[in-house]
């Protein structure tokens, strides 16, 4: 799989660090991180990442709303939701919002790898 430029969006610094480390281990580059939905919206047009990971639960602008807004700017944006809420409702809502896949916490590197491969195969 080709190396991707990835933006990581999560309000928890620890999660940002963990996901970033996993992605870098797989050979991808984390080109940008954002701690809030609005920060992600501001950075997205400048950074133009190949793919984003998006936390569902963030204060103010949550991951689902942020996803909606990013998809409205760029319908081809590839977004993977990261959720600790193992409820299919949240997952379905984010997919309706335009996310291309999801991973549940605790994130397992092989699961993350698999979902990235599936998305890249299907959408690029």
């Amino acid at each position: 799989m080709k190396a991707l430029k990835i933006m990581v969006v999560d309000d928890s610094i620890i999660t940002v660090e963990k996901i970033s480390a996993m992605l870098e281990n797989m050979g991808h580059t984390v080109v940008s991180t954002a701690k809030t939905g609005s920060e992600a919206l501001t950075k997205y047009p400048e950074v133009k990442p190949d793919l984003m990971t998006m936390d569902i639960t963030m204060p103010e602008l949550d991951g689902i709303e942020t996803t909606k807004q990013i998809i409205s700017i760029d319908p081809s944006a590839l977004i993977v939701m990261v959720t600790s809420q193992g409820q299919e409702r949240m997952v379905m809502d984010s997919l309706d919002a335009g996310a291309k896949g999801y991973v549940l916490k605790p994130i397992k590197p092989d699961k993350l790898q698999l979902i990235l491969e599936q998305i890249v195969d299907k959408y690029t």
Partner: protein, 301 residues
């Protein structure tokens, strides 16, 4: 950290769950038992959100403000929440309660039970559910979609025709149909092959999709025929829509074949008229458009 009774401390240290107590005003940790201390490691601050959760501000899940904003009887009421901690990648069930501390302060105590294993199973179950919903959604989509052009297929058009005809009868609103047939499509296939023919069909579908109104329903009726169902539209307006579609198609520069046009037949549902009869009339109008030189809109009166 304040000194607390040694008996109390010993008692809390033998309990196999993480326990911590914080001042609800300052979030300062008043007490933390051994299990919890081992879990969080060396604290990097004295407030719960720093030391335990490694956050920069009080946690999103923190129920303190919520409990305090309630009536006074909310004190002594247990709150139970499930929480994923990214500090140690574990799921916890937290039981929390605000009580009065011996020195008069209000404190919140929390008992954290590791439920990672249970959550792991629940997550697998949710994933299975989500996969099922996705598969179901995909099935629903393919059942109504034309494989080549990605617009609705005939089965979906039949269903929309039935529904719209019923609605028209109930509310006495006009309902029109536009039937489109690509001109000289057979010669495109014969001259350039089926691949080019297929791409003409796809391009035509895209142009139609871009130029219909959002209340119209577009689908592939069969072969090189497309149907547009126009609810709440009289003959005159349906003709305007058809004319717009005709000219959009005429203006479009196709890959390979470059120019390709369509003939259009338009018909309005009569009172009590069934779909079959209206479609036949639209088809007759379409045939007239072909006879009169193609790249035309003809209306059935």
């Amino acid at each position: 950290m304040d000194r607390i009774e040694p008996v109390f401390e010993t008692l809390f240290d033998v309990i196999p769950f993480g326990i911590y107590i914080v001042d609800v005003e300052t979030y300062e940790i008043v007490y933390i038992n051994r299990v919890m201390q081992q879990r969080v490691g060396e604290p990097n601050g004295s407030k719960c959100w720093q030391a335990i959760y490694r956050q920069n501000s009080p946690c999103l899940h923190c129920p303190i403000q919520d409990i305090l904003s309630r009536e006074s009887n909310a004190l002594n009421e247990s709150v139970v929440l499930e929480l994923f901690s990214d500090v140690d990648d574990c799921w916890y069930q937290l039981q929390e309660k605000i009580i009065s501390w011996p020195d008069g302060r209000k404190v919140k105590y929390s008992i954290a039970v590791d439920i990672s294993e249970l959550k792991g199973m629940q997550n697998e179950l949710s994933e299975a559910h989500a996969e099922l919903s996705l598969a179901h959604r995909e099935l629903e989509r393919t059942a109504v979609t034309d494989v080549l052009t990605k617009i609705y297929n005939r089965a979906k058009l039949d269903q929309v025709l039935r529904d719209e005809n019923q609605r028209k009868n109930r509310y006495s609103t006009p309902l029109s149909l536009i039937l489109l047939d690509i001109d000289r499509f057979k010669s495109v296939n014969d001259t350039h092959g089926h691949m080019v023919g297929d791409s003409v069909l796809m391009e035509t579908a895209d142009i139609m999709r871009k130029h219909i109104r959002n209340t119209d329903t577009l689908g592939r009726w069969g072969g090189e025929e497309f149907l547009i169902i126009c609810p709440n539209t009289d003959l005159e307006n349906a003709k305007i829509v058809a004319e717009k579609l005709r000219s959009a198609l005429d203006d479009h520069i196709f890959d390979v074949v470059e120019s390709c046009t369509g003939s259009f037949g338009v018909a309005l549902f009569g009172a009590e008229e069934d779909s079959e009869s209206v479609l036949r009339r639209a088809d007759e109008a379409l045939y007239r458009a072909k006879e009169r030189g193609r790249n035309r809109v003809e209306v059935s009166f």
